[in-house]
Amino acid sequence: MKIKVTNRDGKKVILEGDSNSTLMEIIRDEGLDIEAACGGCCACATCHVYIGDKWFQKIPPRNDEEESMLDQAFNVKNNSRLSCQINLSEELDGLELELAPE
């Protein structure tokens, strides 16, 4: 399963995902520049990403908890997500996303 990430400096990297992980875990373990301070329990808003347009609809929508945490993020867009709340699955093979600033 491939995940295409655009870094903060605009560089694109392709990561290998697996269906037992969250998107945040894959990005963090690759050493990309997200803080993921709370470790993935939806308590910090430091794993903020923008999901590519055609992929956004394929992911189950944000729940209340994620919405509330996004209130603490900056530059929130319609396609904003906290990557710790996205469980990877085979349908998301090829997923494109961009790391949000800061």
Binding site: A37, G39, A43, D71, Q72, P101
Partner: protein, 338 residues
């Protein structure tokens, strides 16, 4: 007045709390300092209600339960807590003791320092715009300390949580308040939301949906905040901007103490978990060594070995006889002294 103890623990998270226990078994007294106003660190602040499944023998335990149980476990050792303050400065004396100074002007002297500060101190999350640092306290206020400063002024409060709404309600009595939030739903307590909507209806405050896009200094004591939402950009000229975006963790002053760091984590040995500076130890999420795992249980292990290391500094002439709590009458007496 300088207070004295054997060891100062920086950080009252689970690993800092368990250090009190491990040090206490070795007759080492300690004081604990934390920036939050209650013990528990991330466990109590970020996920008090969420289950943790990898604390040995606890099938499931919440962050708050773990904190409460650790506090009960360390009670016999009578730790002294200094909460709501951060360590600003450390100084080594000729005697090799340390003096630790906190943001509340407290000075404490000890033989050793144990840094168990997790991901750092919780501080207000700041607006990530470049070149606005100098406006802090002047036009941008992250924590209201002096309300009278805001009297009669035009304020823009941003956020949707309790802080943002509580301050909107409170400051609407003395100032001209606009509240901005990125959506019409609020995380704040329902009572506060009702009260705020009432104030909006009565035109006692303005409410705006949007986010901060940019900030300009108007050089007349005011700032221009450019806000954006899906439809349009609105520019507001205000005296003060009060952003409430929750808390984040920052390593803070610790990074300037001359300890060897690796990517903002403190390098330690794996025998005593001592830093590059003798008699300063670092345990839990804030340290790094080959094979490090950021787990609470690793932090507990590190605390036990750190305590052995501290013993040598606290009692250089004494022999440390290894004892089990199960079999040592002396340890049992200590543990049941309460």
């Amino acid at each position: 007045m300088i207070e004295k103890t054997d060891v100062i623990i920086i950080g009252a998270g689970p690993v800092g709390l368990f250090s009190i226990f491990e040090l206490g078994l070795l007759n080492i007294s300690c004081h604990v300092i934390d920036n939050l106003d209650r013990p528990g660190g991330q466990c109590a602040e970020l996920y008090p209600e969420k289950p943790i499944y990898d604390i040995p023998s606890r099938i499931t335990i919440t962050g708050q339960e773990l904190t409460d149980d650790l506090l009960a476990q360390v009670k016999p050792f009578k730790p002294v807590f200094h909460l709501g303050q951060q360590v600003d400065k450390i100084t080594k004396l000729d005697s090799n003791d340390w003096i630790v100074e906190t943001s509340m002007n407290k000075s404490i002297q000890a033989r050793c320092i144990v840094i168990a500060a997790g991901a750092g101190s919780f501080v207000p999350r700041k607006i990530p715009l470049k070149n606005i640092g100098y406006l802090e306290e002047k036009n941008i206020i992250y924590a209201v300390r002096n309300k009278s400063l805001l009297e009669g002024k035009e304020l823009l409060i941003v956020g949707g949580g309790d802080s943002a709404l509580d301050w909107t309600i409170e400051l609407s009595k003395i100032a001209k308040v606009t509240l901005m939030h990125r959506r019409k739903e609020f995380k704040a307590a329902p009572d506060s939301v009702c009260k705020m909507l009432e104030l909006e209806n009565e035109k006692k405050i303005n409410f705006l949906i949007g986010q901060i896009d940019n900030i300009e200094d108007l050089n007349n004591g005011k700032i221009k905040v450019i806000t954006k939402n899906d439809e349009k950009n609105i520019e507001l000229e205000v005296d003060f901007l009060l952003p409430f975006f929750g808390l984040k963790m920052e390593i803070g002053p610790i990074a300037n103490w001359g300890l060897k760091l690796d990517k903002n984590l403190i390098k330690v040995d794996t025998e005593k978990f001592e830093t590059s500076e003798p008699s300063i130890f670092a345990i839990g999420d804030i340290n790094t060594y080959p094979g490090k795992l950021k787990l609470i249980l690793s932090g507990f292990h590190e605390a036990a070995l750190m305590a052995q290391g501290c013993f040598k500094y606290c009692f250089p002439d004494k022999k440390n006889i290894f004892r089990y709590t199960t079999s040592s009458k002396d340890l049992q007496k200590k543990l049941t002294s309460i």
